[in-house]
């Protein structure tokens, strides 16, 4: 009986491993091609014309803020000074208990006004609406706490323009980022429903007055691992899924959406930790149900810099929350999975995320438990075990290195040789413990779900401070 179970599991793991890595490698090749095309397009980029053109659509930038006192001023400064023809910034203070509101009032000379906002999406009560005397395109909405999704919905209700760009309060958006992320929409306003840009780790960068002046590596080792991880997730994963029009997520840190579409589908879901994933999946569902041609696009150029956790507790909390969000979304939209009427999204995207991303941690941990048992009970030879582990390690390293090579060939944001060498070293090392740790945390999210956990957890933000390195 044990032998049968172990053999069956062994075959399953082999097949699973084979398919998963084939997909990763395939995506890496797709990403390579896509990013090469993207780099070549810079030779005939029309961003300058877009900036000067009265035809570029206006955007409402939404910044939900909860207890973001350390960094909110820098974030708002970076948004207000974005290079874009017409945009407004709406900060939604989601019932902060720290000095977020005071910091904003002091810095931007806020005055209360009566600005009616739509009630098409229900949200918690708005306590007051303020405009900045320094900049009439900067608004602050003070509301009762309802969570990030609720705050974003309030922003969608208040937005003046046809497009809304959701950003995180701890993020710094590059000057041209909004132009770049809006370009697919300018090219195809009737087709492109949403776009998103890349999120990079700001820890270790020199940030001044809401601008990243010098890109550097964090001093914290945990943060360096995350730099590598983000490259893999964004430059390989998201570029790949965009090709199949099956992008599951546009990062909540930086995403551009058609306002009317967000309103039409009822806004962000407030009862999940993964409101950004769930919104995009619901968009796919809505548009495919209506049989409306559309695209949801990831753009690798426009950059949003964000602070990542530097201690195990905060990182664990973040990963568990992200995975919980994914599980909640997949469960909510389970009727779409494997359904041909949802096209590539239903037949490829959702099954992949279910089988390899959502359930992957459980399968991997089961493997870590059963493989030693199989070896100790003589059902698995040492040579096979070592060969398999060796292959898993080499493939992991290869994929991390491939992501770093993509970054180097495509973008070269890390100019110092030493930093690049460090990243490659961490790309190797992350397969020797860090990835296993994140897998364990992701597996714990199943326990969180069963226990009904819904909180975001706490991360001590240092803030992308004025002057000096973050």
């Amino acid at each position: 009986m044990l032998e049968t179970i172990l053999q069956a599991f062994g075959l399953f793991v082999l097949a699973y491993f084979f398919v998963l890595n084939l997909i990763y490698l395939g995506f890496t090749l797709v990403a390579w091609r896509s990013i090469s095309e993207h780099v070549r397009k810079r030779g005939y980029d029309s961003t300058t014309e877009a900036f000067a053109s009265p035809l570029t659509p206006a955007v409402s930038v939404l910044l939900p803020a909860y207890n973001e006192e350390p960094g909110v001023v820098e974030s708002v400064n970076s948004l207000v000074s974005l290079r874009y023809p017409v945009h407004e910034v709406i900060v939604v203070n989601d019932g902060s208990t720290d000095g977020t509101m005071a910091a904003l009032t002091d810095e931007f000379d806020l005055v209360e006004v009566r600005r009616p906002i739509r009630d098409s999406i229900q949200t918690k009560r708005v306590r007051g609406i303020y405009v900045s005397r320094r900049d009439r395109d900067l608004w602050v909405i003070d509301k009762e706490n309802g969570g990030k999704a609720d705050a974003l919905n309030c922003g969608v209700n208040a937005a003046h323009f046809s497009y809304v760009c959701a950003v995180d309060a701890d993020a710094v958006i590059e000057h041209d980022a909004l132009l770049h992320v809006a370009k697919p929409i300018m090219d195809d306003p009737h087709l492109v429903a949403a776009t998103g840009g890349i999120v990079r780790v700001a820890n270790g960068c020199r940030v001044e007055h809401g601008e990243v002046l010098e890109v550097g590596l964090p001093k914290n080792r945990l943060a360096i691992f995350q730099v590598v991880e983000y490259f893999r997730a964004f430059l390989v994963g998201r570029v790949g899924w965009t090709k199949f029009n099956s992008l599951l997520i546009i990062s909540g840190a930086f995403g551009l959406f058609k306002r009317s579409l967000v309103e039409e589908i009822g806004g962000y879901w407030t009862e999940t930790a993964g409101e950004d994933v769930e919104l995009v999946v619901r968009m796919h569902r809505h548009l495919r149900t209506l049989n409306v041609p559309y695209r949801i696009v990831f753009v690798p150029d426009p950059v949003c810099w964000t602070e990542c956790p530097e201690d195990l507790k905060a990182l664990s909390s973040q990963r568990r929350r992200w995975h919980r969000g994914l599980l909640e979304t997949l469960w909510r939209h389970r009727s779409m999975t494997f359904r041909p009427r949802y096209g590539t999204f239903g037949l490829l995207g959702l099954p992949y995320f279910l089988l390899f991303e959502a359930l992957g941690p459980l399968i991997e941990i089961l493997g870590y438990l059963l493989f030693p048992i199989a070896y100790l009970t003589g059902h698995l030879s040492a040579s096979y075990l070592l060969a398999f582990l060796g292959l898993a390690l080499v493939l992991g390293i290869c994929l991390s290195v491939a992501a770093l090579v993509l970054e180097e060939f495509g973008f070269r944001r890390h100019t110092r040789q030493r930093d690049v060498a460090t990243l490659f070293m961490y790309g190797v090392l992350e397969n020797l413990g860090y990835r296993q740790l994140t897998t364990f945390w992701r597996a714990l999210s199943f326990v969180d779900l069963l226990r009904g956990k819904s909180s975001w957890g706490e991360m001590t933000r240092k803030g992308l401070a004025r002057g000096g390195r973050s």
């Binding site: 005939y44 053109s53 006004v113 009566r114 292959l391 080499v394 290869c398 090579v405």
Partner: protein, 341 residues
């Protein structure tokens, strides 16, 4: 045993690939860094030369090696994006003398789309009218980026003969609307007669595009033609007509715009209200006050803003009866003195 051997072989293959990639990257980075440094150095040295050339002060170019010529070409391309008139002609002459115009025209026939698109883009920077025919052909290229780059360049070259092909391509969705619009704007008022003709086209998408561009570059002379489209069968055309009229219209169009405030479509009502604000005729205020208190969000907001544009004092005095939108606008006037147009 066989499976184990296979796994080992695959592992070695991937390890080899990883090492090769790393080595390639090290080489590429070293070469690129050196090359970039040399290019930047060349550009720094040649900048005074480029400035002199642009000002027409340089009768003959000094001897330069290939890298220097490329650096000078890059500098001039960048300047050309922002220059017009004689300066642009001097740049065009430089590229002609260097034979670069012919090089880029030949590249428009490259098998690779990105090379064709880059060539189409550069020909706009170069500014040589010899490229017009080739760029017009490139408007029908099978690759969208090539068509877009060609359209932008034709716009920068002020090619009137490109007006109809660009509009046709936009209507057939072969060109992004923004690209077609930019190109037509760049061509300038010469495009207006053709656009007015297209206001009577069968296809509402054509009429809508023509209105969009007319609103941006037309003049008061064109307003009557635009006003006729306020009663078009297409809601998009009616809305675009209202927006365009707001930019080029005059007080005698107020009546027609007031009638459009009763349109069943929100976007048309909102655009008409906004247009009335731009025109600035105080006769519209009572209807706008009513609209700002009774209509849906977008239309009410447009009406309130228009009242403030026409007469800020009227916005304040009517704020209580004008509803929340007008109250918001009145607050803005009290704080800033006026609202942004």
């Amino acid at each position: 045993m066989l499976v184990t051997d296979l796994i080992e072989v695959v592992s070695l293959a991937f390890m080899g690939t990883t090492i090769v990639s790393l080595l390639a990257l090290i080489v590429q980075r070293t070469v690129l860094t050196r090359s970039q440094r040399m290019v930047l150095e060349a550009e720094r040295r040649l900048r005074p030369l480029a400035h002199a050339l642009v000002e027409g002060e340089l009768p003959e170019l000094p001897r330069m090696n290939r890298r220097e010529r490329q650096a000078l070409g890059r500098l001039l391309s960048r300047y050309s994006e922002f220059l017009t008139g004689a300066a642009k002609q001097y740049i065009a002459s430089f590229f002609e003398k260097e034979g670069l115009v012919d090089v880029e025209i030949r590249r428009l026939r490259s098998r690779r789309a990105w090379r064709r698109a880059t060539a189409a883009h550069l020909l706009g920077d170069i500014g040589s009218s010899r490229a017009l025919d080739s760029l017009l052909i490139a408007l029908e290229d099978r690759d969208r980026d090539v068509r877009s780059a060609a359209a932008m360049s034709l716009g920068r070259l002020g090619a009137e003969e490109a007006i109809v092909p660009i509009l046709d391509a936009e209507v057939l969705r072969q060109l992004p609307e923004a690209v077609a619009g930019f190109a037509l704007l760049a061509i300038g008022p010469e495009a207006v007669p053709e656009l007015i003709t297209l206001l009577g086209h069968d296809n509402p998408a054509v009429r809508a595009t023509a209105l969009r561009v007319l609103g941006l570059m037309g003049s008061a002379r064109d307003a009557d033609h635009i006003a006729e489209r306020l009663v078009d069968s297409s809601k998009e055309v009616r809305a675009r007509a209202a927006i365009a009229l707001g930019r080029v219209g005059a007080a005698h169009h107020t009546t027609r715009l007031l009638e459009a405030l009763d349109d069943p479509v929100v976007s048309v009502r909102a655009a008409s209200a906004a247009a009335l604000g731009s025109i600035g005729d105080a006769r519209a205020i009572p209807a706008l006050v009513d609209m700002s208190s009774t209509d849906v969000y977008e239309a009410a907001q447009a009406a309130a803003r228009s009242i403030a544009l026409i007469d800020p004092d009227a916005a304040i005095s009517n704020s209580e009866e004008g509803g929340p939108q007008l109250q918001a606008v009145a607050d803005m006037i009290r704080i800033f003195g006026a609202i942004d147009a």
